[in-house]
């Protein structure tokens, strides 16, 4: 019973934070709500007993990616964006359209989910309990899918080179303040 209460509380917090990303006018508030959504998703990972993944979600998503977002947003002068998004029929239309898409996704998820629930009840009794999730992760990464792992390293290298090259096209890293 306590598990159910915890899950519903976390789910409602995450969904509310996600909604406020879309519906708030100030972009900084949106970015901070996205941080709250990431933290909520990490907590939901803990309810699924994926402890290491929850920690990684906190370190990488909420601690690195969102810091980048918030830093860059704070460096800009946002008065024009604020005015552009708070009035007019176009923004109202955009908001209604986004709510409509979310409603469609929710209805589709429920419809498909009930079908998936019937299928998985048959397989639930035969699944073995998860003992050590990091061991399975390590085995998959370093033994079975080594090529994908190395390719990921190369992709990260490409991102690094690309970012530095991109920032050099217009004035670059030595731009005077």
């Amino acid at each position: 019973m306590v598990d159910a209460f915890l899950f519903w509380f976390l789910a409602i917090v995450t969904v509310l934070a996600g909604l406020s990303v879309v519906l708030m006018t100030n972009p900084i508030y949106s970015a901070l709500s996205l941080v709250m959504t990431m933290v909520g998703v990490a907590a939901l990972f803990v309810t699924l007993e994926a402890y290491f993944l929850a920690g990684v979600q906190l370190i990488v998503y909420a601690g690195a990616v969102m810091v980048l977002f918030v830093m860059v947003l704070m460096l800009f002068d946002l008065k024009h964006e604020l005015q552009a998004f708070t009035r007019g029929k176009i923004t109202g239309g955009v908001k209604i359209a986004s709510v409509g898409i979310i409603a469609g996704l929710v209805v589709g998820a429920i419809t498909l989910g009930t079908k998936a629930l019937e299928l998985s009840k048959a397989g639930a009794e035969t699944s073995k309990p998860v003992v050590d999730s990091t061991k399975a992760l390590a085995e998959n990464l370093f033994l079975k899918n080594v090529f994908g792992f190395e390719a990921l390293g190369v992709v990260l290298l490409v991102i690094a080179v690309g970012t530095v090259a991109l920032s050099r096209t217009k004035g670059g890293t030595h731009a005077r303040d």
């Binding site: 915890l6 860059v72 990091t134 370093f142 792992f149 390293g153 190369v154 970012t163």
Partner: protein, 123 residues
């Protein structure tokens, strides 16, 4: 993992902080005597000089992006490090070692290139 405990103590600390702020407001009082000079930003005592077109350095963005990339690479090292001795005991040692060394070689090359190309020179 005691998730309920973590959530409880987070809410407790938040409520504690809010109560402290309200306590400070109640005892110290809201700003009663406000004049123009007190509400302005502190800038070494001179009136605020707002330049219209302050260009922000792009180095902050580069630092954050490179931090994300290297953070992801460090995260990949964690499951490897935890089970390293187990893998050695199960005779997967050389394979796992070589795979991670190749990954680290790519990482070191990226770091060396980034240092050599002076991407993070702060002046």
């Amino acid at each position: 993992m005691p998730l309920g405990g973590v959530i409880f103590i987070t809410l407790f600390i938040a409520v504690f902080g809010v109560i402290l702020i309200f306590l400070a407001r109640a005892t110290g009082g809201k700003a009663k005597r406000t004049n123009q000079a007190k509400m302005e930003i502190y800038e070494c005592g001179i009136p605020e000089q707002e330049k219209k077109d302050t260009k922000i350095s792009v180095k902050f963005y580069l630092t954050a992006i490179l931090f994300i990339l290297f953070d992801i690479e460090i995260i990949f090292m964690y499951p490897w490090a935890v089970h390293f001795k187990e893998f050695i005991a199960n005779s997967y040692g050389p394979f796992v070692f070589i795979s991670m060394m190749v990954f680290l070689a790519i990482f070191i090359f990226g770091l060396w290139w980034e240092i050599k190309s002076k991407a993070l020179e702060w002046d």
